[in-house]
């Protein structure tokens, strides 16, 4: 019993959370002793021992008597001995929580009442802009400076994106599925080598011309809608999406070029000017270049009433290939007269000069397949028809043929991969295959078989991962041959995340 009481006291001394109750004061003990006088003498002996111990605990107190007063607590000494005794322990008795709570609540209510809206705004402005904006004006000159010509690419790109350009994949063993990802039906597709009936726009909408109809296939949702239909025996000869937007240009057999707004399925205008069918179209900002069976190329300014800007007569037969370079500097045109012309754009404008910069006559057949390199905008790949069968690579800055390779088959279409340093070409007789070539070595990476008749057109999705081929066997096949690999995506992220060392050192 007595021992327990002793331990209770010790515990109450150590316990700092509870109310402060040191050893009971003498008067209390006396009272207690008086009431418990009939208890054993051991109790009193305990009392004396307890006094001793308590006096031992408070060794620094000068007098014994004082140590027993309730106000004098041995807390400081005790605290030193307890583990973690150097922590700051606030004295609860000293803080008036009720008052603090009241003050807090009062503050928030009075503040919102006293501060008018303007003051708050001023304070925010001072924090955000560093100065009080109510007393300042921000002025600019009304006549703004012009922006850079459209299609202009930041030359600094070379400095920054050396890693981002599709560096040749080190592992050649990239898995390329040999079977198409999907097959779509394309009934009534015109089997004509000289037309351009497929285009895949930047909004992931594929436009396909089947006979006299134009269909739009949304690659995201899979929806198909018919955009237009020509009457009589006319059929669509060419399609081309504007670089960025929902405007689709449609070339027809009667020599007109129609502009359609595909977001509203509405015809915007009809532009005439050609005497025969329009088999090829190419956009460069607001300039639409159209190539005709007569061999003429017309630059249309789609914004103005007098849309014909200039007419190029560089071909004697049908123009079947027409492509603007990604930076808008060159226009390449290929004709059934086996000639490939390069036209330089007029400085400060989007149309080209009327005399060709280069005339390449190396091809022995019609030049329909044309593709500009996405990362070197002066490199052009061109493919010849049945009698030629060659893919040739040209440097248009120097006007030289960089490379040529015999494909043993008619080249109907060419595309550059944007994800890999590779080209893809569509072929006709014998195998009707699609071939992936490594650039610049021009070695075969893969051959994709499947079409039962010649491949007419190729188109690439906006993300560069999927290629669509249109065959004369009335099918459209989707090939997932340039998937963005995970580590590639990661690489790009890494480059973005990693801040340059210079950033940290230049101050």
């Amino acid at each position: 019993m007595a021992q327990f009481k002793f331990w209770d006291d010790i515990n109450s001394l150590l316990n700092m959370d509870g109310p402060v109750n040191g050893p009971a004061p003498r008067w209390l003990k006396k009272k207690e002793g008086a009431s418990n006088s009939n208890t054993s003498s051991s109790n009193s002996s305990y009392n004396s021992s307890k006094l001793k111990s308590s006096s031992l605990n408070s060794t620094k107190t000068p007098s014994k008597g004082k140590s027993k007063t309730p106000s004098k607590t041995p807390t400081p000494n005790k605290a030193c001995r307890t583990p973690g005794g150097d922590r700051f322990i606030p004295s609860r008795s000293a803080s008036n929580l009720d008052l603090a709570y009241l003050k807090l609540m009062q503050d928030s209510t009075t503040k919102s009442e006293s501060n008018s809206n303007k003051d708050v705004q001023k304070a925010i402005a001072e924090n955000v802009f560093g100065t009080d904006i109510t007393n300042q004006k921000i002025l600019t000159y009304k006549n703004k400076a012009p922006t850079a010509p459209q299609g202009f690419q930041n030359p600094m790109k070379v400095l920054y994106t050396q890693v981002k350009t599709p560096a040749s994949v080190k592992v050649n063993s990239r898995y390329i599925p040999q079977a198409p990802d999907r097959i779509l039906d394309a009934p009534d597709i015109v089997d004509d080598f000289y037309l351009n009936l497929i285009d895949w726009g930047s909004h992931n909408i594929l436009a396909a011309a089947l006979g006299s109809h134009v269909y739009l296939w949304n690659a995201d949702t899979g929806n198909i809608e018919q955009l237009m239909e020509l009457e009589g025996n006319d059929y669509i000869c060419s399609l081309s999406w504007i670089q960025d937007g929902f405007c689709l240009a449609v070339g027809t057999t009667n020599g007109t070029v129609e502009l359609w707004d595909c977001s509203r399925s509405k015809k915007l205008r009809i532009m005439e000017g050609h005497s025969a069918r329009v088999g090829s179209l190419a956009w460069n900002s607001y300039i639409l270049s159209s190539g005709c069976r007569s061999g003429q190329i017309i630059h249309h300014d789609v914004r103005s009433r007098e849309h014909v800007i200039s007419t190029l007569s560089g071909h004697t037969q049908e123009v079947c290939g027409l492509k603007w370079s990604p930076d808008g500097k060159y226009l390449a045109s290929g004709g059934n007269d086996n000639v490939l012309n390069i036209w330089q754009s007029v400085a400060g404008s989007y149309h080209s000069q009327t005399s060709p910069l280069h005339v390449f006559t190396a091809h022995q057949a019609a030049v329909k397949a044309l593709a500009w390199c996405p990362w070197q905008p002066y490199i052009l790949a061109s493919g010849g028809g049945t009698a030629d069968r060659h893919i040739r690579l040209w440097n248009c800055n120097t006007g030289s043929c960089v490379n040529s390779i015999d494909t043993k088959s008619q080249v109907s279409s060419l595309l550059w991969s944007t994800n890999y340093k590779e080209l893809i070409s569509g072929h006709g007789f014998v195998h009707n295959e699609i071939v992936i070539w490594k650039y610049p070595g021009m070695t075969r990476v893969a051959e994709l078989m499947g079409h039962t008749s010649r491949v007419l057109h190729l188109a690439m999705s906006a993300d560069g991962s999927t290629v669509l081929s249109a065959g004369a066997d009335e099918t459209l096949r989707l090939w997932k041959c340039f998937p963005k690999t995970k580590d590639k995506v990661k690489d790009v992220e890494k480059i973005k995340v990693k801040p340059s060392v210079l950033k940290q050192s230049i101050r």
């Binding site: 802009f129 100065t131 904006i133 109510t134 007393n135 300042q136 004006k137 921000i138 002025l139 600019t140 000159y141 009304k142 006549n143 703004k144 400076a145 012009p146 922006t147 850079a148 010509p149 459209q150 202009f152 930041n154 030359p155 600094m156 790109k157 400095l159 920054y160 994106t161 960025d244 973005k496 995340v497 801040p499 340059s500 210079l502 950033k503 230049i506 101050r507």
Partner: protein, 205 residues
């Protein structure tokens, strides 16, 4: 006698100081337009100044824009009404502000009280200070993010509230960049105007 003559020679008035500041801005802005690749490099020609080669635009419209802006700025600098000049670079398609070059103007202590203050700081020293900043601007391409889209630029002048607005000028909103990071360049002072250059750019992570 000679020393007095020299003193007069190296004295810079408030107007002269404004000229120096505008000259720096002209070269600085042209240099930024070239270095950040806003316009094709064919449209620039080299110009030797401050002991470094700087690329100046040959586009007449840009030239005229800068000339008009800086002419007006010069007047306001003399009136001590300018707080800061900001070159804003924004994406043409989305109008998102991608980069902001702040040229903060401060007036050295007694400039505001004494309108006829004359600075005796040697012009050579000022030009050296400017050269260091122009070098830093050229070097900034190594850490600033690539402007991978068509961009336009605009010059905003922060003035005092009580200024008369000229007819061909507009009030605009301040350009704010989301998730911005900024780097402070060196500064230079003519002992009348003090100019601080800070570039703020979008921190793309």
């Amino acid at each position: 006698m000679t020393s007095a003559a020299q003193d007069i020679q190296s004295a810079i008035t408030v107007k002269g100081s404004a000229d120096i500041v505008c000259d720096y801005l002209n070269y600085g802005i042209n240099s930024i337009l070239f270095q950040r690749g806003l316009y094709p490099p064919e449209n620039f020609k080299p110009d030797e100044n401050y002991g470094v080669t700087l690329w100046m635009t040959t586009d007449n419209k840009i030239k005229e824009f800068l000339l008009k802006t800086l002419d007006q700025l010069r007047n306001w600098l003399v009136d001590k009404a300018v707080k800061k000049v900001v070159l804003v670079i924004a994406n043409v398609a989305t109008l998102e502000v991608l980069e902001r070059w702040d040229f903060n103007v401060e007036y050295e202590e007694d400039t505001l009280t004494n309108p006829d203050k004359v600075s005796s700081k040697p012009i050579k020293q000022i030009r050296n200070e400017i050269r260091e900043i122009l070098k830093q601007i050229s070097a900034s391409v190594s850490y600033l993010p690539l402007l991978d889209c068509l961009c336009s630029f605009d010059v905003q002048i922060y003035t005092k509230g009580d200024i008369d607005m000229p007819s061909e000028w507009n009030e605009t909103a301040p350009a704010v960049i989301q998730n911005a990071q900024s780097v402070k360049m060196r500064s230079f002072s003519t002992n009348i105007h003090k100019m601080e250059t800070i570039v703020t750019y979008k921190n793309d992570i």
